[in-house]
């Protein structure tokens, strides 16, 4: 697979070291913005503005306890939105994710019933995810092999799975989840010590990966650019330790020990929620899948130009089916976390604004509806924005209607930004 020897043109001298290597981080950022590649910049700015606004208008918003609240509130939607990212990347849509998350929750809840199968929690989780994986793959197969538009297939899925949930729950109404494995996904907090160890581990692992990346560049004879890597490492460290610092400061009400005066309110410290770590694990794993594996590369290729992908020998149908499977699995993961927060499954499971929130999260996070552009982390940022708005307006005493209106306006703004960015990119090309 040595290549260059075949095609070496005689006597062509190139100017040494092209401009790319000499571009500073700032120049690249400006270039990106000019060519419409905004990345997560608008989301970060938006989040800062939102947090600032609520900090001044809603009492009790800017507190450690509420920070932990937001993390727990966003976890379910974030997981579902991770899957949405992949679907949007191949320029498809999955409308069934809301009720698929409900199907996963319902499956796990049913299997753990003490008067039913009484399976252990981990088995319930695995089986629930297996069910939604199969459903996702089946829907993807109809899209990829038969050619029915994904909008229609998953719209049918939306109705079908909602129907299944209604039929299953109409007698029972509510299923309580008493299984620890499931419930702890949304209710477990790491102790302060463990939380700090996790922050250190995250930073250390990230440093290792970044370092091996730099070595790789060096081995291939490329110019090594340590500064951007260092900047990112600092960012990761600040984020990891910052989150842990806030979480370990959060407290929850607790029973007072014997003999405390009645007027006193007793609390106990919280710590890093397991849900936050789960989000991080899926963020890292799925980012790796999207960016460092051939599968991920092919996902982007199919979204950019499916015909070109096909001609490059990529099995486009397989990529599409796997993406819908991922979408199903991530919907299931989100559904389990949402159910764990309620410690039950009821008739509303998977309904409400869950579907639209999840898609909005990915889109607000900069994932293009036109396919081929966007990052996994976009889902996290988008869902953070949605959760912050809902949380802030809620604390500020606004009604559900206001929350919908504001979220809708922000979604519209995000899509407009994406469309304008696309236009800019087209203009800057050719």
């Amino acid at each position: 697979m040595s290549t260059e020897a075949d095609v070496v043109a005689p006597g062509i001298g190139l100017p040494e070291g092209d401009e790319t290597e000499q571009q500073t981080l700032w120049q690249r950022a400006v270039g990106n913005v000019k060519s419409g590649n905004l990345g997560v910049l608008p989301v970060v700015i938006g989040e800062v503005l939102i947090v600032t606004y609520f900090s001044f208008t809603a009492t009790n918003f800017f507190t450690a306890g509420n920070f932990v609240n937001v993390i727990l509130q966003m976890a379910g939607v974030t997981m579902i939105a991770f899957g949405v990212v992949f679907v949007l990347l191949i320029a498809e849509i999955d409308l069934s994710i809301g009720y698929l998350s409900g199907i996963a929750a319902l499956t796990a809840a049913t299997l753990q019933l003490p008067d039913g199968r009484n399976y252990p929690g981990w088995l319930c989780i695995l089986l629930a995810l297996g069910v939604v994986a199969i459903i996702g793959a089946a829907q993807g197969t109809v899209v990829a092999k038969v050619g029915v538009p994904s909008f229609v297939v998953t719209l049918a899925g939306l109705l079908i799975w909602q129907g299944v949930i209604l039929r299953e729950l109409q007698v029972r109404g509510v299923i309580q989840i008493e299984e620890d494995w499931i419930n702890k996904t949304a209710t477990y907090y790491f102790s302060a010590t463990v939380s700090w160890i996790i922050a250190a581990l995250v930073t250390g692992l990230y440093a290792l990966v970044a370092l091996s990346g730099l070595f790789g560049q060096q081995r291939a004879g490329l110019k090594v650019r340590p500064l951007p890597a260092l900047a990112k490492l600092v960012g990761v460290a600040v984020a990891a330790f910052g989150v842990v610092a806030i979480c370990t400061h959060a407290t929850k009400p607790a029973a007072c020990p014997e003999g405390t005066p009645l007027a006193e309110v007793c609390t106990q410290p919280l710590g890093l929620p397991l849900a936050a770590v789960l989000m991080l694990v899926f963020l890292v794993g799925l980012t790796f899948l999207a960016k460092r594996t051939t599968f991920g590369r092919h996902v982007y290729a199919v979204g950019g130009n499916a015909e070109a992908a096909r001609r490059a020998g990529i099995n486009v149908a397989r990529v599409r089916i796997l993406v819908f499977m991922i979408s199903g699995i991530m919907a299931g993961v989100g559904g389990l976390i949402l159910a764990a927060r309620l410690q039950s499954v009821n008739l509303n499971v998977g309904g409400g604004t869950l579907l639209l929130d999840s898609i909005s999260a990915a889109v607000i996070g900069g994932v293009s509806l036109f396919g081929g552009r966007g990052e996994v982390r976009g889902a996290l940022f988008g869902s953070l924005i949605i959760a912050t708005i809902a949380n802030g307006l809620n604390i500020g005493g606004y009604k559900t209607g206001t929350i919908y209106i504001v979220t809708g306006a922000i979604l519209l703004g995000a899509v407009t930004l994406d469309t304008v960015a696309r236009r800019l990119q087209e203009r800057s090309g050719r």
């Binding site: 697979m1 070109a308 001609r311």
Partner: protein, 261 residues
């Protein structure tokens, strides 16, 4: 021994619904030769090479490669035989950068099955350098931001970087500037010198007479003759393109003498 052509197509027919795109086409490419494929718009040139590349299935006919009958069911099959194609529409992913496009479908992975970006980046830089593609500012920029000619250069580089045996170029110079056109023509000659076979589709007869050894003319989905470059003229080719008579109609002698190797 090397009398068998590298690529030999017999009686290939292809329809798109009711459109008969190719009818009983014969086409062959010998080792180390540059075979030009010419014909008017819609003559079926692109369709023919897409059949070879595994993009289209064909209705009837036989394809042999290296003297053996082969069935090409997809792009992977063609690539395995050592057939590389630069498509007329380039077939690049706009959202991917130059390196990612160059290695699309054949990504290099490291021992942990991760994409090996540094190696791919370095090889891409070398390949482009060897093709004198110097106008691309960064090989890490998305292909969408390249000019038409730069995109074409990338598509050509993508096809010739592999150790292939047959390189098919469908109008590779249509959007190129003078210098880049020269580079591609030089490249075509060089590939042939190295023993590769090249199929060059072009509407520019001047270019074709410069690099081709033989010329196959298609007209309305039929082949109307194979001409040896040294024994024909541009007028004869133009006449064949516009008014050539199919070689396969009974009673009419072949319009061009077959060359004995």
């Amino acid at each position: 021994m090397s009398e068998t052509p590298l690529l030999e197509i017999r009686d290939l027919s292809k329809t798109f619904g009711s459109v008969q795109a190719l009818t009983d086409v014969d086409f062959e490419v010998r080792r180390g030769e540059v075979m030009a494929l010419v014909g008017d718009n819609g003559a079926g040139k692109s369709t023919l090479i897409k059949c070879v590349a595994g993009i289209h299935g064909y209705d009837s006919g036989e394809i042999s490669f290296d003297g053996e009958a082969v069935s090409i069911h997809g792009p992977k099959d063609a690539a395995k035989l050592g057939i590389e194609v630069v498509y007329q529409d380039l077939a690049l992913c706009d959202n991917l950068d130059v390196v990612q496009n160059m290695y699309l479908g054949r990504e290099v992975r490291d021992f942990l099955f991760r994409l090996n970006e540094p190696v791919m980046e370095q090889h891409t830089a070398e390949t482009l350098e060897s093709l004198a593609v110097t106008t691309i500012r960064s090989i890490r920029q998305p292909v969408a931001s390249l000019s038409g000619g730069q995109r074409q250069s990338v598509a050509v580089a993508k096809a010739v970087q592999w150790n292939s045996r047959l390189v098919i170029l469908d109008e590779p110079t249509a959007a190129l500037g003078v210098a880049q056109t020269r580079q591609v023509l030089e490249l075509v000659k060089r590939l042939a010198e190295q023993g590769l076979s090249v199929v060059l589709i072009s509407h520019n007869l001047h270019d074709i007479f410069e690099v081709a050894t033989r010329i196959t003319v298609l007209r309305l989905g039929r082949d109307v003759g194979v001409y040896e470059r040294d024994k024909t003229t541009e007028q004869e080719i133009v006449h064949a393109i516009t008014a050539g008579v199919p070689t396969k109609i009974a009673g009419i002698a072949e319009t061009a003498p077959e060359i004995v190797a």
